[in-house]
Symmetry: C2
Subunit: 265 residues, 2 copies
């Protein structure tokens, strides 16, 4: 019976649209590959986005050929392209993404913030679990938001820091939408983005990207503290041959941690 | 139905003596806490060994109060104490351990080796998956083996490097037994032990510890390549308050990577 049930469980896990419980029964944040692989230019998709949607309904990342900013919200995957368009990403693959079943642990009113760094400081004070991962979902009215996306790349791939110099940047005033954030511990060096990583998707699902800055008038913060971290390592000779040991922290901060001053009112 | 089945799955995962399939259906290596927490002296058990035995039947680590070297073999947990005795560890808790369902991916004859470093060089040549985790099980006739264990600690805990200076070391000639190894990628800094980490358990289950050196006459190597890495983070204010960011690589290498020259014949 147990074997039959276990087989049924595996079948369910592979077939179910909703995320299965984590192996340990705890709330898991799951990522495919490691950020250093993306930093050195490994942009080919290794995991179907559809597989990630079975492991989490909330998250962010990129897709095959670095063709934009991936946003996973309410179990649907969206891609904010370098040309500003937002398309469905459910059929794509990804070289790097982070997802979790968003299992709300608490909420708070979103503090008014003149810039992204102010919002992050307020969240640090409200969420002291610095050695856990925290998924943060903010529904907000934005005085203004500045996002970027990146253009599709073709092999031979250049390092992410070079590619990001060709990013497109947009600022919108008076937008409504969702800020999707993942805060990772400071000690995740080389594996994922330390600290805050934010993507945005507008309420009408027509506009989004990687957040460089925002001015928040009001909103609601909901968060999910994750204490199980799963890393799915690509099974390929190319991945195994890659040198993922260099310390690319400074380059990563310039690419993913870039913050812009608050746009003028 | 799906919800009932999912609930049954969770119940099975929590109750089953055998490891449940990993959330992603891939072969997972699971660890509790991170090695830097052990390095700075967080020796209180945070995870029941019985829970780990549901996530893997093979592995190594330590137990509450750093009371010796933990060995998980064929689904049973053993503790090699600082006084040389081996006892059942199934009812203990652990501050740091690594386990996997040992799912053999291949085997090879164990090369004769005059010292542990020779064995590791031969395994590096045979197992090129340097960016994956590999569980290695070697049944061997040993010309000689040198192991260490550590004495139980009491709070306030001192850092692991200090404690390890008080380790007990034994050498046995003509032993038969199992070498349990975990080889982790070079980029796991601060989270687990990079490279090889070896424990030993004698065939009669009476002798074991953390391997410092060995001379192998013959044996069989079996290995399991793991491409899903799960880290279970302790849920405690003490863990969240700990500064796990310092680079303790050199100290860790002295503690866990120590190798002794081959004992004289």
């Amino acid at each position: 019976m147990k074997r039959r049930l276990a087989a049924a469980c595996l079948a369910l896990a592979l077939a179910a649209p909703a995320p299965p419980p984590a192996a340990s029964g705890r709330d898991a944040i799951v990522q495919t590959s490691v950020i250093n692989a993306l930093m050195i230019g490994r942009y080919d998709g290794v995991t179907p986005v559809a597989d990630l949607l079975r492991l989490g309904d909330f998250g962010l990342g990129t897709v095959d050929h670095l063709d934009g900013e991936l946003i996973v919200l309410d179990g649907r995957a969206y891609l904010a392209r370098g040309d500003g368009s937002v398309v469905d990403a459910g059929g794509m693959t990804t070289p790097f993404a982070v997802v979790t079943p968003f299992d709300e642990d608490g909420s708070l009113p979103c503090p008014a913030a003149g810039r992204l760094a102010e919002l992050e400081a307020a969240l640090d004070a409200a969420l002291p679990q610095k050695n856990a991962f925290i998924a943060i979902r903010i529904e907000a009215d934005l005085g203004s938001i500045t996002v970027r996306s990146v253009p599709r790349q073709e092999p031979p791939y250049r390092p992410l820091e070079e590619v990001s110099k060709g990013q497109s940047v947009w600022t919108r005033d008076g937008a409504k939408g969702t800020l999707l954030g993942v805060r990772s511990p400071a000690w995740v060096r080389g594996l994922t983005v330390p600290g805050y990583h934010w993507h945005f998707l507008s309420a009408d699902r027509a506009f989004g990207g990687h957040i460089l800055n925002c001015r928040i008038q009001e909103g609601v913060v909901r968060y999910d503290v994750c204490r199980e971290w799963e890393i799915l390592l690509p099974d390929s000779p190319g991945f195994d041959a890659a040198d993922l040991t260099p310390d690319l922290s400074r380059e990563l901060k310039r690419v993913e941690g870039a913050r812009e001053p608050a746009p003028a009112k």
